[in-house]
Symmetry: D3
Subunit: 334 residues, 6 copies
Amino acid sequence: MALRFAIPSKGSLYDGTMSFFDSCGLRIVRPNPRRYTAGIAALPDVEVLLHRPADIVEKVADGEIEIGVSGLDLVEELRGDRDDLLVIHDDLGYGKCELVLAVPETWIDVRSWRDLADLAAELHAAGRTMRIATKYQAVMRRFCVTHGITSFRIVDSQGATEAAPGLGYADIVADITETGTTLRDNQLKIVGGPILKSQACLISSRKALRNDPQVAQTVQTILEMVEARRRARGVVQVTANIAGVSVEDVGQRIVSRPELAGAQGPTIAPVWPRDAERGALFMVTLIVPQERVLPVVQHLRALGGDAIAVTPAQYFFTAQSETFARVMRDLEER
Amino acid sequence: MALRFAIPSKGSLYDGTMSFFDSCGLRIVRPNPRRYTAGIAALPDVEVLLHRPADIVEKVADGEIEIGVSGLDLVEELRGDRDDLLVIHDDLGYGKCELVLAVPETWIDVRSWRDLADLAAELHAAGRTMRIATKYQAVMRRFCVTHGITSFRIVDSQGATEAAPGLGYADIVADITETGTTLRDNQLKIVGGPILKSQACLISSRKALRNDPQVAQTVQTILEMVEARRRARGVVQVTANIAGVSVEDVGQRIVSRPELAGAQGPTIAPVWPRDAERGALFMVTLIVPQERVLPVVQHLRALGGDAIAVTPAQYFFTAQSETFARVMRDLEER
Amino acid sequence: MALRFAIPSKGSLYDGTMSFFDSCGLRIVRPNPRRYTAGIAALPDVEVLLHRPADIVEKVADGEIEIGVSGLDLVEELRGDRDDLLVIHDDLGYGKCELVLAVPETWIDVRSWRDLADLAAELHAAGRTMRIATKYQAVMRRFCVTHGITSFRIVDSQGATEAAPGLGYADIVADITETGTTLRDNQLKIVGGPILKSQACLISSRKALRNDPQVAQTVQTILEMVEARRRARGVVQVTANIAGVSVEDVGQRIVSRPELAGAQGPTIAPVWPRDAERGALFMVTLIVPQERVLPVVQHLRALGGDAIAVTPAQYFFTAQSETFARVMRDLEER
Amino acid sequence: MALRFAIPSKGSLYDGTMSFFDSCGLRIVRPNPRRYTAGIAALPDVEVLLHRPADIVEKVADGEIEIGVSGLDLVEELRGDRDDLLVIHDDLGYGKCELVLAVPETWIDVRSWRDLADLAAELHAAGRTMRIATKYQAVMRRFCVTHGITSFRIVDSQGATEAAPGLGYADIVADITETGTTLRDNQLKIVGGPILKSQACLISSRKALRNDPQVAQTVQTILEMVEARRRARGVVQVTANIAGVSVEDVGQRIVSRPELAGAQGPTIAPVWPRDAERGALFMVTLIVPQERVLPVVQHLRALGGDAIAVTPAQYFFTAQSETFARVMRDLEER
Amino acid sequence: MALRFAIPSKGSLYDGTMSFFDSCGLRIVRPNPRRYTAGIAALPDVEVLLHRPADIVEKVADGEIEIGVSGLDLVEELRGDRDDLLVIHDDLGYGKCELVLAVPETWIDVRSWRDLADLAAELHAAGRTMRIATKYQAVMRRFCVTHGITSFRIVDSQGATEAAPGLGYADIVADITETGTTLRDNQLKIVGGPILKSQACLISSRKALRNDPQVAQTVQTILEMVEARRRARGVVQVTANIAGVSVEDVGQRIVSRPELAGAQGPTIAPVWPRDAERGALFMVTLIVPQERVLPVVQHLRALGGDAIAVTPAQYFFTAQSETFARVMRDLEER
Amino acid sequence: MALRFAIPSKGSLYDGTMSFFDSCGLRIVRPNPRRYTAGIAALPDVEVLLHRPADIVEKVADGEIEIGVSGLDLVEELRGDRDDLLVIHDDLGYGKCELVLAVPETWIDVRSWRDLADLAAELHAAGRTMRIATKYQAVMRRFCVTHGITSFRIVDSQGATEAAPGLGYADIVADITETGTTLRDNQLKIVGGPILKSQACLISSRKALRNDPQVAQTVQTILEMVEARRRARGVVQVTANIAGVSVEDVGQRIVSRPELAGAQGPTIAPVWPRDAERGALFMVTLIVPQERVLPVVQHLRALGGDAIAVTPAQYFFTAQSETFARVMRDLEER
């Protein structure tokens, strides 16, 4: 039976998932844009299902689906005490947003979470309860408990949460935001930092990973490609031609500044001279971090380097996949 | 305190509500397009609140809001046994859609609701339960009970319901549709006619109407304008110049065909002749149904009519507002 | 059997037809935007078919379809010697375009059709033939014959005709244009005036009109509504209150300038004085051409007029439909 | 020689001008959308020129152009001491915006213009000058003088003025705004009310109006149509059928509530009964303000009214054009 | 004289051609987006002409144009018996579509081409002829002949073919489709598989290739670049650092699994150690198929590999161009 | 204090700057799309300010900003005699446009700048002055002086310059254009070639570069990356496997055609044979210009090459940055 891999069915999480997996060599192809099943050529045994992000968390936790992509915010909100749910990659790099607390602009004296806790206590003393509109009920209950807000009422809000204070059915809101503009337009101001930083994540379940070797293998393939793709953004291959008397001579001069000599050192090969009159040339190849390109270039130039080409890699694998190793450790720990 | 009137905050119900009330002389003005409160110049005591359509049904039923616009489908789904909720206009003419039942195309033998009931029974006998994906749980439970489907399970679906059979978590779906294209694209076919025909409606509560004279008066104003606007689409004023010897002569000739003589008969006034040589002319004014314009024109022409102008009315009021009268009767009945 | 009425299936002729018939009270409703049949509520026996404009001309001429909307350019191009084809309205007011002749900008000495005829003769004398790219082959053959261009070759072009000289397979082009920009961008200039002025037209066939009373009646209905709608754009109803001693007094003063006294003279009715102290007032009603509104207003003001309201009519019928009368005459003549 | 009438060449003032003059029966037609001259069929002697709004003010003031449309803000900014410039209509109803003062959000203590004057004085005492970024230099100099801000420097800004404090080259800004969002996004807050409320206006010059009768006549035509169109939005014609024994009977009953009896009283005409058995009916016609429709309808119903049609006028003229009269007075006064 | 290379002038074939040739290093540049000639910097002797796809087939077959891009469907439809036309690349990878047969949904018993042949025979026996609407007349005639459909009539259709059965002028259709949605919306169902699978192709003529060395050379350049680009999508270069005692040691270990050792084996070069304490390292370079990246990575890791970079090539050439070789063979064969 | 780097705040210069610097590894990130400050991760000490292009020239020249991006046209127009302003890169490759002179189409005899000078003289003799509408006043004054146009008047035009002759306030125009379409639509024709070819450029000031080492270093970083990115578009790395008996053998054969042997000659490394039976193989690596790829491929094939991969570089640095060296020389010269 095919392994079920669920991805968000619309919105920015959908767009982000499609382009991210494409860039990882795991292109998701929908035969018909109005159907909700798809496939991945590189993973022929996997059936891709398009679901709402919240449903994906539920279904993976319940074992109906083996692997899924969702948002960290929804995992936090919906996981409850289902320990079986496992976040196997929490930094896919898209779908970023923050959960923040916002209060009416007119509450000039409320500037921190602490102020809010104090206010809730005062209201309670006066016989009132601070009402918080949010669709993140579980997250907010935990937040209030751990931040000393003891008297509050959660008002469920499935849309346009920022309107709640203006419409009169809540006092403050806890909502997802990017730039804060919508909050300001509704005359609210953010108090404190983000309660939760969210982005797209990959989830599975302990049971699926333990019982089904196909799941573990598919998870490994996905994690390998995702990790290699993300690493590749940070490193480049630099090649240069450098004059010298021998490989040793060139090698020693390059490693004289080890921090500019590549991850493990240069590979050096003689260049067959186009023009025999010129002295010996050697082609040097280095793998260096993206942000150190210019110092490396200057170092090579100082050694007489020329024709210095910088080439990005599409994927960059290390000796083992750290994310997959971590997943395996997590699995064994319990 | 201002009366609260809630309208849908987005989607086609929002657009429809904005343009419909505008055409009724009750233009809703939002001071800032990102805020959720608005006003109506012609109803200065009314505060307009923008809510999700489902919330509007709940809040009107619970008395938090006095009047609202929502969809009939949501009223049917959410009203439960809250008798206080009152649909005061059920034909605003926009937001039309139908709730239908759809089964996989491959179920060749299922062509009617009856076939479906039989199939559900067969499945039950074989130890299985027919799963129906829908977000109209209450409506569907009632439907199944009244149509002899005794063994079934409702699978809650808050989006992309049509994908449920293809994704494997339901057997059939009950969903809102317009052209059926999305259903066909997911290889489903509609069985039987519409379970529910829905459109935008105006709702209030018995309690609000009974206790607050301002609510009754606002409801009357809205219903008067809505009704007069909708009536005006069906009638036109026809004026024509007709030669004749006297008002009596012209009048008798026109009413000789009473079905073409306007609602209550023609108003006839003499035309002061621009050219004294010409015989006497009379201007005739008739109010006639839109669809009878051409026969009336032919009738007037046969009597020598010329310069026949057809003018639409913006509003057309009858001796009393029938919709408001019905609301008042509904209110007294219980 | 239903009468078949064909309208263009896409492009500006489609959009124009939909909105024009809507404004004439003959709204065309497509049950599904991807199907090619439609209906008109006011003409229940008519089936609307969506075809390509060229096919409509052919099918109406061949009797496969009773009535159609197409472009005059296509009628001219495709009618051939099919005398049965009848243009029953040639001025629907949309889909306007012109067929023009364009030559390379570098032909400085060619400024008129006459110059072109001379050039064609010169080329012929030099053993060459002037090649004209066009999709209006029949129209152009007639044009050349009647304008003294005796040596030419028509190059059929079903698209991007303006590219033909630049691409080298024609010398000049005859093409449909609106602003001439595309021609100029291809370094062509227009020579002479338009060969043909085209717009949307209504067509039928003598046979259909003669043999089928339903066709004649439907044609009459359509022409009546189209004509009344077009006339209504040119006239308005003016009402004013004027002080005076009697209807006669007011009447005589108004008709003292007959050109400002309405089509057939004013209708005058006494106003019941709101304030008995004020002298007698009369309400005057006039039907006047749209462009004479201001002089009429000034005339009425000079007579003491006030509260002068100008109201447009939606339809304006005269004693008989001139366009339908002409069609009937055309039919009898042969 | 043709009279020159300049309108804004792009932006919301362009769109507003095109649709406003169209609705006034003075449709502006551009033969080619990329050219900058146009015409008005109803004013054949007028040549329409498209200019930038600021140039229009300059050119009308300098007598290069006879009539123009621009914004009140630009007139205020650019008129200087050119008394010849005359605003002949200052309420065209579109292009509305406000000039406001905004300061950094962090200036908590600055809440009014008075606070700002105090701050400017303090800065001056400390050897600094408050810098105001604006493109309304003249308006702001006058504003500062009349509001006690004596030490300031105007920093000219022709775009993105709201960025000036953030970019460091001004302390505060005076800029045009609609919702204030852009200001808030740049962390500025509005202080005090609007300095200037602007909208589209019609301008001409004393010299042109005095010397050229054609200018005065064109101005009159434009003002008449603009005024009649604007008035028409406020009044409607109400007709109703009312049972009664005589015109007198009906008339007296209607004027018993003079505030609901129309501007000058009802026009009453007998309806020729379709059904002789029914008692006498009279058609009543009233001109009433738009906002009093419902009370008038209730009044007519109370008198037995039925078939009450409400029709909007397209134009509504009074005994003379007040705006034109005012322009003529302004002209004579100096 | 410049060689003429024709490409489609609009639609998806135009977009596809522009981006495909760009990706092949043969960017087509139009100096003016409204003109129909263009150039390719890398092929300075080539003049690019923009034509309709059908015209391109005709003109290449007739020798008016040397090389062209069109659709395989049009080549099949229009080539007739012109053997001179040569498809030199039939798999450019874009412009994909299928020609299918569709019948009314109500024809429940027709499920295959065989059923259709039977039905045609039955209709013929009953004195009727099955009408097939299509714009692929030649293709369909051949299809019918080879599939035993002996009684049929082709109805020419140049647009909206899917409407023909609903409009009544054909019984079935043969049309180009992508998802089948338009067919379903017109209540048709596809019968049998695709009659023809089409995509963009490159065409030329035997005569042009034989007579003009410039044509052969340009064709070779295009085919080389196209082929190298398409191959490059399937292979990647993998480099890794591997610890070992010598080149021989590393080489032997890598080729111990020849299927993971690259096309022809690894290139191995010593890494100059950044840190002399560490043992000898070697940089290995392999060219491997895209889909075998992960197994190769695992193999290298198993040998102690690290810093494994995967880099895609832009072009990948083999020892000779297979497509050009095939074209040359085709040319000689006749 | 942070170094200030100004970029255009909107239009095509903004878009071009954002994507160009992104492609150079200097991605500009705006935290809020409505604010006017941004940052560059790779240049942490640089504050990016968004200004109008004209303001950027002024502010860099005045020393308010250290480095900026603007258009060469604005630099030419606004630099005046401020020698401190330094164009440090004048070929960023985007924002290209030309300043041209255009006269009315009807001026048939004016075909060159010389004709224009003659005409200006004639007009002057006749007591008139040729009026030139432009927003490039300084450039045009210099142009007129150097081209013998001695009698002229510059009419300042800040928008829609091409309309000036048609509107009557200038005789000819000097304006920026791309395709000339707008000029032709206003019935103007271009005379002579471009007066000025402009594109995006990088500017700084002598003072900033001399006094602030941080400026010089940032300029160097930017120039290095820009230059390396631009160079990389012109070169590719070619690798191939070639059979041979030794490195020497392969090397000599490759350099036998030095023009196809790479910039400095091939790097040659032995391939460890996957299949020991096959003869010795060597991997050859060459850096060659993009446009010589095919000849190099053919050369390598002729030597038995296979598996020839072409890989583009992202950056290509030479022994030193020529643009930075030139800037340093410019700086010292004065």
